[in-house]
Symmetry: C3
Subunit: 467 residues, 3 copies
């Protein structure tokens, strides 16, 4: 049984809960009473194993967290900390590197600047691979730590009100967390700085892939009247998945909100406030940046935040004051601390040191696969766009059917884009990618635009209906 963790979707909810339970066990056994969040000592169940860290981008904190987890399990570590000292500098591809390193270690942790890079490594590896951050794509163990912190501090995730604060546009940390919160039924309350809201593709995916329901001002009532919390929308996950087609007639009545049953005073308190780095140089509006409130002692006086945990993936810059470090609601250092038990449990699971934690294969959502070279991923940061990796990589996409057209999602970087033209090889005809084709025909070919289709010898189809 070989399993990887490249995106948070690689783990089922059941598996995530199993990992959290094991992390709880480690803390119960190993933490001291005065620091119940911190692993001390060793539980040497991995003495015969070696973990390798391959960091093509610097991160002392994340690397230490993984290495500490492995050492606390009694295992050993091979460490590559510096992008410039790797064999990639000699032009070695990821596929080759991983097939060499798998002979030296039992488990590999990779950080890489290219989006989707760790998926490539996992595809070629015969040992477990963990993604410690691949460009702007994913950082799933950070998400595990975030969710674990919430569960640990709050008891459970379902129906928690979690504010996301600051820069919600950039940063894989927040996007992965959003999906994770949706999966576990926490309510997502975005409070972005001006111009730094959740990207449209993240919102779309929340609705499409995670069955979220967006509650607007009409649904939220009093909750949006706070000056400090100018809430536009809250994403909630119904207890039971609903049909996507019901989306259009959201009415906002509490009682029949697509299976969402909000208790009275559902939004009377904020359970957690997840703060992210606000990089002023990235903000389009400097005045708004200056005006954006800093999370500090003054800010936390708001009664809504009385029991709100303040989280932060760190490092902070100026968006969060040092004057709350001693406040018991400030849990960001605990959050870093929980990285150790969570990663210990993950390592134990992937190395099969504990049975029953993971299933042989995790049943991810099924989409049709598109593997023809007629289109290329449009994300310039994608691993498939790198010259060295293109030598051997075949582009691979999932065909995601939306109401209006077919969307391609890169199987590596998960970037989504809409090819301009669809065609069939049987008829050699093409037409705009503009209609509903569910499921797509077996001989489907996609092109970025008409010119590409014509160049490939296809002809326009005159009736703009189904091909």
């Amino acid at each position: 049984m070989l399993r990887h963790l490249v995106t948070i979707d690689d783990l089922s909810e059941f598996e995530i809960q199993a990992i959290f339970s094991l992390a709880d066990e480690y803390l119960a056994q190993m933490a001291t009473p005065d620091k119940p969040h911190r692993i001390r000592g060793r539980n040497p169940i991995a003495q015969d194993f070696v973990l390798a860290t391959l960091f093509y981008e610097a991160s002392t904190r994340t690397r230490f967290s993984f290495e500490s987890a492995m050492l606390r399990l009694g295992g050993q570590v091979l460490s590559s900390a510096d992008p410039k000292t790797t064999s990639a500098a000699k032009g070695e591809t990821l596929a080759d590197t991983i097939r060499v390193v798998e002979n030296y270690a039992d488990l590999v942790v990779i950080r890489h600047p290219c989006e989707g890079a760790v998926r490539v490594a996992a595809d070629y590896a015969d040992i477990p691979v963990i993604n410690a951050g691949d460009g702007g794509h994913e950082h799933p163990t950070q998400t595990l730590c975030d969710l674990y912190t919430l569960q640990r501090e709050k008891g459970a995730l379902r129906n928690l009100n979690v504010v996301l604060w600051g820069d919600l546009k950039h940063g894989r940390t927040v996007h992965s967390l959003v999906y994770g919160l949706a999966r576990f039924g926490a309510r997502i309350i975005p409070l972005p700085a001006e111009g730094l809201g959740l990207p449209e593709h993240v919102c779309r995916r929340l609705l499409r892939d995670y069955d979220c329901v967006p509650l607007s001002k009409r649904d939220l009532g009093d909750f949006t009247s706070h000056d400090e919390f100018p809430v536009d929308v809250v994403y909630v996950t119904p207890d039971k998945p609903h049909q996507r087609s019901l989306f259009t007639n959201v009415q906002g009545e509490e009682s029949d909100l697509l299976g969402v049953h909000l208790p009275q005073n559902a939004f009377a308190r904020i359970d957690a406030c997840y703060v992210t780095r606000l990089q002023k140089e990235r903000m389009p509006n400097v005045a708004a940046a200056e005006a954006y409130p800093i999370v500090n002692r003054e800010f936390l006086k708001n009664p809504m935040l009385k029991k709100s945990s303040v989280m932060h993936p760190l490092p902070r810059v100026s968006e969060m004051g040092y004057d709350i470090d001693d406040d018991e609601r400030a849990v960001y250092f605990k959050q870093a601390s929980y990285g150790v038990p969570v990663r210990m449990a993950l390592i134990a699971a992937l190395l099969n040191l504990k049975s029953g934690l993971l299933q042989p294969v995790h049943p991810r959502k099924k989409h049709a696969v598109y593997e023809q070279r007629t289109v290329a991923c449009e994300n310039p940061q994608c691993v498939t766009a790198q010259e060295s990796e293109r030598r051997y990589l075949t582009p691979r996409f999932w065909i995601v059917v939306e109401d209006e057209h077919l969307v391609l999602r890169c199987a590596y970087c998960e970037h989504e884009f809409v090819p301009g033209v669809m065609a069939r090889t049987s008829t050699k005809k093409f037409m705009p990618n503009a209609l509903d084709h569910d499921p797509p025909p077996a001989d489907l070919v996609l092109f970025p635009d008409e010119a590409a289709a014509l160049a490939a010898g296809f002809q326009p189809y005159k009736y703009k209906t189904r091909l």
Copy 2:
């Protein structure tokens, strides 16, 4: 009981001796007969512990020495060797870094380019922090190794004649050693290259804080007549501390030299010669640099040096020849070797693996504290002068009373400077910092100059006596 080692003054003489005794024990148990100075094998008493090295400045040697010590104790290591791969590159502050890393390790060793940086880390840490060099400030474990080498090779430290050779101006190594020698009663014989003598503040501190007595040519007699050793002064430590006020009437008579009882022929031999790197580009006088004698086989023929240990913190450049490497007086590689048992003992002490080595709190000399933002440390290399750290650090100074004025010593980098103006908040008056105020008034305020005092709304006091 939480203890750090940031400056050599953080350990009492008793504690240093206890660490040396434990180092002796380790050597007795672990060294082989043919290399009695070298640790081999393991003494696995730290198996449940993890040491992290955070080196913001490169030093393979020092890092290896610490890591080897930890491994020989059976412990494990997290290693960060490269300044550019640390989270500091993302703007993380020391206070945040240490509060993250303390969750991953049981003990942290830090090297940092900013003076006082490791004190900041220690202030925020809840695990022991060891300074492995903070800019030009301190490198206390080097000093421990130096002292241990002297004691090991010579049997004891008291009344040893130790020549300090070369560049005594720059370099934390020599300054810390000077204070250490004073504390253990070795006699300090500075023999600097031209223009590279001990800084005045070091000499002043020797007298003021370590109760040293400077013996001049008149006191030394024949000893200063050697051409090779143009001795100007020797610092000796009386058997019993004396009053500072007696300083002015040093007469040089052997019998009543402030409690110093020099035996006949006290300076008949040099017990050790501590050589330091002579960086010619730093020397003001190139001709003098060329003329400065190299410590080599020829040099060691001097009868005064017949039994003199030759020490060097390494790396050497051209100030010491390779032709003495096989001479049994050359102990610099042994000196490096002793780094392992000394650091093992230190780690064992700080991790409480051996009880009774350290006291709960080490009683450092008491000075009044000054913590107002009216003055800033004048050392541009001080950690408090760095923009990132200023976000949360409050300046802190010790008020050191000298005969003529109040001196501020930065509690971080220990740089001393004299603020130009002193004032009292009760009277809103200020006057020059020029008189004896012992103890300082409770409502004392200090300013760098009159302009600053005036700007803060204070008025000049017309009588230039006590405020």
Copy 3:
């Protein structure tokens, strides 16, 4: 008993076989049935030992291979991965570095950009030193892995037909392998890209030092008629060493080829094809570079290659296709994998964890030593040409007697060159280095040219015979 591995010649054939047998044992005990080439788990016989890696040049792969080997033996590791973080940056010499590090570790692995650098380290060390690559000189553990792979995959080395493919001019890997193949009696079939053949000094050394016999087209018959394998020469090693003087009359008759007895169909198949990186920018003829065949699925259809192992030291660039990765003849990842058991066995041997593997001293070929400063090594990459190391290093050469003149081989980088002038101190006469002097006179002095000899006060000798 202290032994190093700086060049592959530091080990006798017997010792290499002993190391391979131990590697076999480790694989038998530790590999899983599905991956019989890969070490898993631990065999903790080195628990009391520490290995230090000092990599002055980056190589994650090689470093991980050594560190994994040490961890699989239960030992510990000190790791220095980055050239810029070493004390060499402060101007420390190799001799000093190794004498410091030997106090911290039990075994040192060094990679260094200067040729001969690791020999210097070994000369000064009192612990075993392993060369992990010193510039263009040697990388002996790579050669051990290459030979072990061949033996493991093919059962034995003697009489194997091994094609060397690609860039045979640059690259220590191929040169060391050539000598290793000769020593174990494999037949060497160079198939270089245009302009990238084996350097003349390597060919000369094959004949002179390893007793090889070159078979030309006349000897090889049908074998050279393949279009795909334009074979010019094959180097074979006779079963019994022969006299060098017989070389001139090679006739090519199978029966009396200097003791070489070639069976019928000796060249009916290629046993292994050793591919090397083809760096097109280094090739003088661009068209030839483009035309050079890529080792891919198509190429491997050649019937001669039906059972040929395809080896590669990795990383590959474009000389070898990804389409053969699943072919069972592709053994390059296994080759990387074998690095672990081979290095485990080597470490066990050098640390004396297994007795009887190594002899107290390996009897290398004896040559007269020349240690006078009248000549300097002509290789600008030689460690003796580096300013820092020249401070203490004495040049040292082996006098290798060739038919026409005396050749000096640098004892560090093994670069060979012919000094222009030879002289005798007894007569103060010199003459061109042009005649046979076997053995060289005891008072021999060599100069690069006449000017140097004249400048040293020597006079020309008028009779151009023996001095």
